[in-house]
Amino acid sequence: MKKRGCGIGSMWYGIGNTGLPNPSGAFVQVLDDCTVIIHTGCADIGQGSTTVLAQIAAEELGVNFNDISVICADTGVTPDAGKTSASRQTYISGNAVRKAAQSAKETIFKKGAELLQVPEEELILKNYQLNSLKNYNIQISLKEIMAKCREDGTLVIGHGWFNPQTKGLDKRGQGIPYATYAFATQWVEVEVDTETGEIDILNVVAAHDVGKAVNPMAVEGQIEGGSVMGAGYALMEEIILDDGKIINSSFSNYLIPTIKDVPCVNSIIVEEEEVTGPFGAKGVGEPALIPTATAIANAISNALGIRFYELPITPEKILNSLKTANNTNKNQRDF
């Protein structure tokens, strides 16, 4: 018999290291032809930080995304950006890159103000053009400013770094461990086969508060990938040890989800902008995974009326629990 059930999992997750400094640095150079090079220590491990950092610099400098080039994660030429961990790179390195871009922009504004004979505060940089906010006819192209900078020997180079504002935890665990938190709720519907113990994940709905999605498709990619990883954690993945020895050290006996196990993941992006984040962004890398397993466990419990207190919830465990529940019911009837 097949039984259906649904479950919810909610979570919070602090962005960055827990109550400890974890700064990130970046360099931004604007070249004579108005293209831009970013130097950042940030290691892109497939999550897309290189793209996100380029987007942040492009937005700040008012140039096209394709005019940005990123050199990353080379200790010979890039500043330390800390680890690609703790869901921190968009928030922390994003801020570092934005600050570096702002610092390069200061030179552009200074030169522009000088050439246009207006105060810097009056200027706005957009579409490769510096305009006066008061009089739109007062304008100069970025290219012209770069040429003037070159003429008088000024280089347009900015650097920036960012460290989130935290306060270490005291002996009672009191303090400010993180400057900001990501939040999420996921809902899962499962179908459990009571004959075989097999579990099918029918639907996943995953809503994540990421502050601001710098790249919505990349955020969805994280949510989908995280949900699949969470499904593996809930249902199949387990290192089995025998006196410290891993007895399933290959993919033939350490099972991870395959394409056939991947459920339909419906991603919903919630944007409660974080004032200290770059353009309001927080993070999503780890939150994507966190609520899935527990939502699945709650859904199985909802389907069978049996709660599971141990992960992973394998078909064997389902069948054993059904057997125990059956026996208990029979005994209860007998009495």
Binding site: W12, T18, G173, F183, W187, E189, D209, E286
Partner: protein
């Protein structure tokens, strides 16, 4: 304010190279005169090393270098928080997979032959494999300082009184398993020397940390080490610790030639850090209105043979133990414990997926007892902008937890899903 680039799904830089298989990962790279490295690892979990004999291995044709702990000129230790893990051990083995010797050879076959020819004399020690047993006074010690790596406390309000005043309580024990990151690309690195500099091409999540450790182990300045991250086929936290970095750097310095080390999948699973398995003892108390009054939680984290990210994972679990809820009375104890199991370190979620399994099961159990829906109990307890967390932090405005639940519920309703 309207944005031009922020909020746009621009194509991933290097995305098309990855999906068309054109990206060059570390193991795809070849250099002239490059040697192949292998690592001799322990296959028993707890022992004292009596003797390492490399004399036969060294004589195998094609074997250029065989290194042991005595060949390390700098410090023989690595570790992100505590430098407690030997680069090559020559005294004590604390886990299966612990590195003992390094080989650099012309071919993989020659390196494998040399591995088999190294003779290690050991004296086995009784191991300890359960973290709660490891905390008993009679337990075998994994490290001299004792098996308790860390005990972190979170105290807010008065949990005891909250339980006395509660209308409903729920008390359960949860167990979570050890898991592997299973990134698609196993650990890989190439090291070579350029005059007095050592250059590394490596699959990593933090080249600057790698640089720091390599410099310490080689006994040279950080400015003489350059680490260049290569396209990295996933990490999920598993490529934060040192894996191949110090080993290839030592071999490149010893041989003067480029050296490559790529783990096999089996070696990757055996040697790399894992997600911490937890035992969680969780008690929740709620009032008639379904509002949480207090929680009392004890968490035992098996960190395995070395600290790795253990202390940080334990602290994160402590802070996140409440879940995204306003709870006035919180009492949490989190323990990180050494055993002779594989090392547990950082893995996507950093100790929080384990806690979520516990606090979200508790919410459903309480909802059932109070006869309210799982949606409703969460809604009544969520953190809100300006709320105070278990650590006494006043939250800012960016607290979208209620909105995530509302959005999910409307979506499910629109689709007509669920029961």
């Amino acid at each position: 304010m309207s944005h031009k680039v922020i909020g746009c799904s621009v194509e991933q830089i290097n995305g098309s190279k990855k999906v068309t298989g054109k990206s060059k990962f570390t193991d795809d790279l070849k250099m002239q005169g490059m040697l192949i490295a292998k690592v001799l690892r322990s296959n028993i979990p707890h022992a004292r090393i009596k003797k390492i004999d490399i004399s036969i291995a060294e004589k195998i044709p094609g074997v250029i270098a065989v290194l042991t702990a005595k060949d390390i000129q700098g410090e023989n230790s690595v570790g992100i928080i505590i430098k407690d893990e030997p680069v090559l051990t020559d005294e004590k083995i604390r886990r299966i997979g612990e590195p003992i010797a390094l080989i650099a050879a012309e071919t993989e076959e020659q390196a494998d032959m040399a591995l088999a020819a190294i003779d290690v004399k050991l004296e086995e020690i009784q191991g300890v494999f359960d973290p709660e047993e490891a905390l008993q006074p009679s337990a075998t010690l994994v490290h001299k300082g004792g098996n308790l790596l860390v005990h972190k406390k979170l105290r807010r309000g008065d949990a005891e009184t909250a339980f006395k005043e509660a209308i409903v309580t729920a008390e359960s024990n949860y167990i979570t398993q050890m898991v592997e990151h299973a990134y698609i690309e196993p650990e890989a690195g190439i090291a070579y020397c350029d005059q007095d500099k050592v250059i590394l091409l490596v699959s990593t999540q933090d080249p600057h940390y790698d640089r720091e450790e390599i410099a310490r182990v080689l006994g040279i300045g950080q400015h003489k080490v350059r680490v260049i991250q290569q396209p990295t086929g996933g990490g999920f936290g598993g490529k934060l610790d040192i894996s191949v970095q110090c080993h290839v750097a030592l071999l490149a310095r010893a041989t003067g030639r480029p050296v490559k080390l790529t783990y096999t999948r089996q070696e990757s699973i055996i040697a790399s850090p894992k997600r911490h398995p937890y035992k969680i003892y969780y008690k929740s108390a709620a009032g008639e209105d379904g509002k949480l009054l207090g929680v009392k939680v004890k968490i035992i984290c098996d960190t395995g043979a070395y600290a790795s990210y253990g202390p940080a994972v334990v602290t994160r679990a402590l802070v996140h133990a409440t879940g995204p809820y306003s709870i006035p009375n919180v009492h949490v104890d989190a323990y990180g414990v050494f055993t002779n199991n594989p090392v547990c370190g950082a893995m996507r979620g950093f100790g929080v997926p384990q806690m979520a399994f516990a606090h979200e099961s508790q919410m459903d159990i309480l909802a059932e007892k109070l006869n309210i829906s799982p949606w409703e109990i969460r809604r009544r307890n969520f953190l809100t902008p300006g709320a105070i967390t278990g650590t006494g932090q006043k939250l800012g405005q960016s607290v979208g937890i209620l909105e995530t639940l509302n959005k999910v519920q409307s979506y499910v309703k629109e689709q007509g899903w669920g029961n």
